[in-house]
Amino acid sequence: MITLVIILPLVFGVISFAAKSRIVNRVALLGSAALFVVVALMVWLGIDWRWLPDWLLVYFRFDCIGLFFFAVMAIVFAGVSVYSLSYFSEHNLNARQESVYILEILAFVVAMAGVILATNLALLWVFVEATTLTSALLIYFEKKKSSLEATWKYIYICSIGIALAFVGIITLSIGSERIGSLFFSDLYLHASEINPVWLKLSFAFLFVGLGTKVGVAPIHAWLPDAHSEAPSPVSALLSGTLLNSAFLGILRVQVILVRADQQAFSNIILLLTGFLSLLVSAVYMLRVKNYKRMLAYSSVENMGIMFIGVGLGQPGLFAAMLQTLAHSFSKTSLFLTSGNILHSYGTKKIEDVQGLLKRDPVTGWIWMASFLAIIGIPPFPIFISKFFIIRAFWVNGQGWLAVLFFLFIVVVTFGMGKAVFRMAFGDSGIEGAGSVRPASSAYLPQIVLLAALVIVGINMPNLVNEMLSKAAAFVSSVPAPVARVAGR
């Protein structure tokens, strides 16, 4: 099954690249998306295709946290691929361009699946690097001067980051000479035998390296550029899944520290960078002029919140996981919708967009709802995760941090709200209400994602709750329930 996930999309991509047929393109894209979702579902349900050989099982495995991130990715990817259809038609891509796009996006997604499922730190690192390289192509897809600049900065910064992460791996192996393996299972099992100083050192390097990909301050700088210049579905994928998969990398390293009882150290770093991210997004929410960049800063903010959640230890982990899920869905919805706006108004400038609700009510209300989702208005679940993070502050006796937290959050809400309301409200530049009507593939994915969020926010299905709790338990210092290794 893992083989399926890793190999099949690539095969699809190559086929569509070779076939140059629009139908094959669509089948390849949607088929891969469906494959991801189905695999995630089956793994969760414990259904197994034993007759399928799985050669890669040593290197890839669905553990409970990986499954969670994989499922999020699969759903986001499904949404993005449906939306891509409208992207194709709106930009009048020919079959050739479509197939290039599809090949690139499938390679990107496979790389992310590799990051999520890798059982080995070195392998994880390899795939993180692979995500950089594949996504760079996508960011440069529209081949504009500004997207070139964004791509260059993206690759350059992330390459340095990833090089530093490699230093982290080396230092870890220096500290864990007796283990002599970089498989996570070995590292977790023998975490206490790792020389603590080298462990901290390696955490520092790995954190800087992977954190660059996650996009937390102060190493977030590439993020607004890349997110704003990429085609909207790709931005969605970058923000909704790429950041998560790098975040998972940090979580996996964090688990080592937790098992080695060194989390006091890493928690401080996580909290520090988390708050720095909030600060940065608060600063820039107030002065950003481009709505896609605004969404990117919001990603910085949300990643910061996740880091804070993890940094709070046991009490905040569930919130961090919920935040991951909710952020991915709502940010995907936002970025996809921003694609509609971009197409309708032809500008990324906030001040040039007005009267969205009148010009294109569907897009307008989705835009509004997604905004409410991302800033944590109930019934959207970011609200619940924020609640639990505040609760964790109190539980940890760090209530004063809540002041800081809310200060930044309110500033971010103000900045973002100002922009979003400005865009949504008012009179549209053109005559006639509802004069623009996007294709159904341009808003259905968002509606589905938002509906899913509402369900999670009001009455979280047990399935989701269990998934989140297990993922949270995986990171927590409380001995995790035996990792349910499904999907052999």
């Binding site: 070195a122 690192w125 390899v126 690097e129 390289l133 760079a136 001067k145 500004s146 070139l148 600049e149 964004a150 791509t151 260059w152 900065k153 690759i155 350059y156 390459s159 340095i160 990833i162 090089a163 530093l164 490699f166 230093v167 791996i169 080396i170 192996s173 220096i174 500290g175 000479e177 002599g180 970089l182 020389n195 100083v197 080298w198 607004p224 550029d225 704003s228 210049e229 820039y284 002065r287 950003v288 002029k289 481009n290 960049r293």
Partner: protein
């Protein structure tokens, strides 16, 4: 023997932080590649011949010959300005570089006291090389120096990975492979697009995206 080679490697970084011609950077890069080759020859034992052959290929062929040659041709062909303009003057930059170099020795000393299967000097100097490369990246104004210094950063990491090469050869190989890949990638973008679209390759042309 290895110690001398390592320190030599470190000194090359001091050299580049004081020179101002791009060719000198490229030549230093080649020199570093050769030094690394020597280190591989001297330092690595207990490895399969395949691994060793791979490392030799990497250091001697790629790092010492191919990349520098390629860079030199490109520089000459494109007639990019030969001078490297630093933000900080050469003198101060050398001063800071020396400071970082000393920090490398401190790190080596610290590593020796901390334990772990580490050859202290490998650790210290590679840290110093990495820091120095990052410092040079920050301090230089030409985009091509970003690539050059990135290669130096990779050399530093390669040096560090050599210290565990005996235990985890796979790791070294992966690192090397990816380095190559990234380097090629960066080159490709740089020479195909950036140089084409942004004439002059001054870093300031890449500041359109900001808030």
């Amino acid at each position: 023997m290895t110690d001398i080679l390592i320190i030599l490697l470190g000194t090359t970084m001091l050299y580049v932080s004081s020179v101002s011609r791009i060719e000198a950077y490229v030549k230093t890069l080649a020199a570093q590649g050769f030094l690394l080759f020597l280190l591989v020859m001297v330092g690595v034992k207990e490895m399969s011949w395949l691994n060793i052959a791979f490392l030799v290929f990497e250091t001697l062929i790629v790092k010492t010959v191919v990349i520098p040659y390629f860079l030199l041709t490109v520089i000459r062909r494109n007639e990019t300005p030969r001078e490297i303009e630093p933000y900080i003057s050469q003198f101060y930059s050398l001063l800071i570089a020396s400071g970082i170099f000393v920090f490398g020795f401190v790190a080596a000393f610290w590593a020796a006291r901390t334990g772990g299967n580490i050859k202290p000097l490998y650790f210290g100097i590679s840290i110093a090389i990495m820091m120095l490369s990052l410092f040079l990246i920050v301090n230089r104004k030409r985009i091509i120096t970003h690539i050059l210094c990135y290669m130096m950063l990779e050399n530093g990491i390669f040096l560090l990975s050599l210290s565990v090469a005996n235990e985890l050869p796979m790791l070294v190989n992966i690192g090397v492979l990816l380095d190559l890949f990234v380097a090629i990638y960066l080159f490709a973008i740089f020479f195909n697009k950036i140089n084409e679209i942004y004439d002059g390759s001054h870093v300031d042309v890449l500041t359109e995206l900001k808030d």
